[in-house]
């Protein structure tokens, strides 16, 4: 009971334990290969990109909304970064791509708060629309940077030993957004709006404005992550980001975010974003067919969601 209470207060504990178990299991199953430095570096690079998206997704979930368009925003901003860099240089390309990502978030938010259509549908539509744009622009092919420069290195370059600089950005963003959620008025509003919209409104909080900001932040982070990914691979495929939205939502939920809103932590969500690539890589290294990855994630996801809810109910004594 004490353990459950502690877990209720620290939702990142559950995902941390899961991560430990998965880690040990895969180190054992892969005969130690899983714990190799090269593998850890590769895992963290994947986690960083997924994790930055997940931080934004966690904000929308805590705010009581959902954003299914982050994968397409991720793909589109990466693509714009690649295409515009050759024409305008990398800095304007970065700013334009980030701006367009934020614009997508703004549209998601405006349509959601103005029409009262659930964000599930609004962002699903946005996701399909943007993916259509990506296929149209690329003709389904991969696009590659024509020349490298400092910004591309700063976003997705190597640090040495196989580690990428994106891990630093990931940690920085986790830190900043943890502070924003816990220690600022806006963060307080996000939790209140997701926890009980009516009360928040009665307390004078501009609910629609809080939601708008959250959608913009979420899309902006997805755009940034997409550009980091493009910089790391030096290219963007038409299919880049197609699984990202669902993985990010899964990561946030594994990390303790309640899908019903009002509760969750950024470090927890970030750890969820480490867990998912770890499972994928671990299965491959253990010799399991790669197809098992999704099945396994599915089981872990539902398990985590159920566990969260149980722990949460116990912790608040309901």
């Amino acid at each position: 009971m004490n353990f459950i209470r502690t877990m209720g207060k620290r939702p990142e504990l559950g995902v941390l334990i899961s991560l430990g178990v998965v880690w040990l299991a895969f180190v054992f199953l892969s005969g130690g290969k899983f714990a190799g430095l090269g593998n850890i570096a590769a895992l963290l690079a994947q986690s960083a990109e997924l994790g930055i998206v997940t931080v934004g997704v966690a904000f929308t979930l805590i705010c009581g909304e959902i954003d299914l368009s982050v994968g397409s925003v991720y793909g589109l901003s990466g693509l714009l970064f690649v295409l515009l860099s050759s024409k305008l240089g990398s800095v304007p390309a970065f700013l334009i791509a980030l701006g367009i990502a934020c614009l997508a978030g703004l549209i998601n938010g405006l349509v959601t708060v103005r029409t009262m259509v659930p964000s599930l549908i609004v962002t699903l539509g946005m996701s399909m629309f943007l993916r259509g744009l990506i296929y149209f622009t690329t003709g389904g092919f991969t696009r590659t940077f024509t020349e490298m420069d400092f910004l591309i290195d700063a976003l997705g370059g190597q640090l040495g030993g196989g580690f990428y600089i994106s891990v630093v950005w990931f940690l920085l963003i986790v830190g900043i957004f943890t502070v924003i959620l816990r220690m600022t008025r806006y963060g307080n509003f996000v939790m209140a709006v997701g926890g009980n919209k009516e009360v928040a409104k009665a307390m004078g909080i501009e609910v629609d404005q809080v939601k708008l900001i959250t959608f913009v932040l979420c899309a902006g982070l997805a755009g940034l992550a997409g550009m980091i990914s493009a910089s790391r691979f030096h290219s963007v495929a038409a299919t880049t980001g197609t699984t990202t939205a669902l993985e990010a939502i899964a990561a946030a939920v594994m990390g303790g975010c309640l899908v019903t809103g009002g509760y969750g932590t950024i470090p927890g969500a970030a750890l969820g974003a480490v867990l998912i690539p770890a499972v994928g890589a671990g299965l491959v290294m253990s010799g399991a067919p790669a197809y098992w990855y999704q099945a396994f994630i599915g089981v872990v996801l539902v398990g985590a969601a159920v566990l969260n809810l149980v722990v949460h109910r116990r912790a608040v004594g309901q």
């Binding site: 008025r185 939790m191 928040a200 004078g204």
Partner: protein, 268 residues
């Protein structure tokens, strides 16, 4: 009590939702220091009237005066800033947040670090702890999640909040709904305490017996119209029930109506 300026004066308020006339030329006053029971059956327009006052709805017609000035609050935030504190039916707390975060919700204490503003959790917890102590929620720490609190404790927090932020008027929307007998007593006691502090209270309810114990005056609505306004000394609880049940004021109580009497005095 009728002497002196009313704190709140709503004049001929009308509000339509589509084809439904939710309020039809309703006037409503609250005087300093009094507890007003706002009564009526479901759909009478009690909550609509209050939502017009607090800025959640805009009236189609009518004027609102607060502290002698004509006002038109366009959001609950504005009415709250002006000193109207509302305690909602659902007890006005976000269950998943802590007591102190709820206490300061929308009015968080912050401290500046360079150009940035951060929540001053330490000071909020200290202030909240002080208030909790004063209002008798002693065994709860400010960082307790409010989901675990009893109905009475939730009320106490709402009332503590009204006192802390020096509200000028407290509106309680069905505060005794879904409360146990003991918790109800606590709420009524708190209304009494607010009154002792000179804080006027508008108490919205269907439960005449609860409101009769604490109110000085009763305003009764029926299907969007005012059917009576009585001082407690002039009517019994049964009289009020009769007005609500009939949907109009019976002949024998007409001369007790303060709103009609006032009109007659003016005419005379």
């Amino acid at each position: 009590m009728s002497s002196g300026q009313p704190l709140v004066k709503m004049i001929n308020i009308s509000k339509k939702f589509g084809e439904v006339q939710a309020l039809k030329r309703v006037s409503f006053e609250v005087y300093p220091g009094e507890v007003v029971g706002l009564l009526g059956d479901n759909g009478a327009g009690k909550s609509t009237l209050i939502k017009v006052l607090t800025g959640l709805y805009r009236p189609d017609e009518g004027e609102i005066h607060f502290e002698g000035r004509r006002v038109c609050f366009s959001s609950p935030r504005e009415s709250r800033d002006a000193g109207i504190e509302t305690v909602y039916q659902g007890l006005g707390l976000v269950d998943l947040m802590t007591i102190s975060r709820n206490f300061f919700l929308g009015r968080e204490l912050t401290r500046k670090v360079g150009p940035l503003r951060f929540l001053d959790m330490k000071r909020m917890n200290q202030e909240c702890e002080k208030v909790l102590h004063q209002i008798g929620v002693r065994r709860r720490s400010p960082d307790t999640v409010t989901a675990v609190l009893s109905g009475g404790e939730r009320q106490s927090i709402n009332i503590g909040r009204a006192m802390y932020f020096e509200a000028k008027l407290v509106i309680m929307d069905e505060p005794t709904n879904a409360l146990s007998v003991r918790e109800t007593e606590m709420v009524l006691e708190f209304i009494q305490r607010l009154k002792e502090h000179g804080l006027p209270v508008v108490f919205i309810t269907h439960n005449i017996y609860h409101v009769y114990q604490v109110a000085d005056r009763f305003t009764i609505l029926d299907r969007g119209e005012k059917t009576g306004d009585f001082a407690k000394k002039d009517v019994s609880a049964e009289d009020i029930i009769e007005v609500i049940r009939l949907g109009c004021c019976p002949e024998r109580l007409q001369h007790k109506r303060r709103d009609i009497a006032a009109v007659q005095t003016v005419l005379a």
